[in-house]
């Protein structure tokens, strides 16, 4: 009830003062470049590429200024343009390589159904494994393993696991289906599991 009231009040004052957001491209770099860069680099794990995408976002925004209606904040508006740039980048990456690979569902592999389990039959990790979780060395090992993931798996895995972004949002942003997302997550986790087994739990 209170929320509703506050909402109405803020709408009301906005209406009364007829306040619209205004764009000021002179301040864009100072105000938003770091935010946009951070946003991009968590989704595209390549600083050089992320820089180019941020730059292009500002240029596109400049061209699209006349379409800005002032309803959303300046930052929200810039992020919406950035999101489209990131999707474009993902489409490019998909068409170059890995599309066929990612589209394959591990249920449909005919004779090879279930073979992933045979290939990497879980080894018992021993009782001391649990107690060693907190150690710094394990932290280094897992970060190394994550860095070794293929770029596309790493992005999706981190968005889901580290940043806790909703499945639906990731799918929208990266232009993939949810079953596709779970295949990627599964493969990433399998690889991480294997990597940790080889580099950590065996010793």
């Amino acid at each position: 009830m209170q929320d509703l009231f506050i909402f109405n009040l803020s709408n009301y004052t906005k209406f009364m003062s007829n306040q619209k957001n205004v764009l000021d491209p002179n301040k864009w770099i100072a105000l938003y470049s770091d935010y946009l860069f951070n946003y991009t680099i968590t989704r595209i794990d390549d600083a050089e590429l992320a820089k180019d995408i941020v730059q292009e976002t500002f240029f596109s925004a400049l061209k699209a200024m006349k379409n800005y209606r002032g309803d959303a904040s300046e930052r929200t508006w810039l992020v919406s343009i950035l999101k489209r740039k990131i999707i474009d980048q993902y489409r490019k990456m998909n068409s170059k390589k890995g599309r066929a690979e990612v589209r394959v569902n591990f249920y449909d592999e005919g004779d090879k159904r279930g073979s992933w389990l045979e290939e990497c039959v879980p080894q018992t990790w021993g009782n001391e494994a649990e107690s060693a979780i907190e150690t710094k060395e394990l932290g280094h090992a897992i970060n190394k393993c994550v860095a070794a993931l293929p770029e596309k798996y790493r992005n999706v895995f981190k968005m889901k696991t580290v940043q806790n972004i909703d499945t639906e949002e990731i799918c929208n942003e990266l232009d993939i289906s949810s079953s596709n997302l779970w295949v990627i997550i599964h493969r990433a986790r399998l690889q991480l599991r294997k990597c940790m087994e080889d580099s950590w739990f065996k010793n």
């Binding site: 770099i29 470049s33 860069f37 951070n38 240029f59 389990l117 907190e134 394990l138």
Partner: protein
């Protein structure tokens, strides 16, 4: 119900992953539990999957703050100014 109760190891592993993100349905979890009861390998996988989640939670941080280099900012700004005129 028309839904099958017995699931393959592949399906079990997907549900297993989803539970790590709290995204498995009640029916999914039920099927998984039954499968884990019958399949030792998946049971082990499931245990290790939980442990991996704990490891991720403890050691993968989201705190890295990236910044554009000042030189890069200036270059973008200069180009932007050029396009404004």
């Amino acid at each position: 119900m028309g839904k099958k109760v017995m699931i393959s190891c592949d399906e079990a592993s997907t549900i297993c992953d989803k539970t790590q993100y709290n995204e498995a349905t009640f029916w999914d979890k039920l099927k998984l539990q039954l499968h884990l009861f019958l399949c030792k390998k998946c049971g082990l996988y499931s245990e290790q999957n939980k442990m991996m989640s704990k490891i991720f939670k403890t050691h993968l941080s989201n705190h890295s703050h990236h910044q554009l280099a000042d030189a890069d900012k200036k270059a973008i700004e200069a180009e932007l100014k050029k396009q404004m005129n």
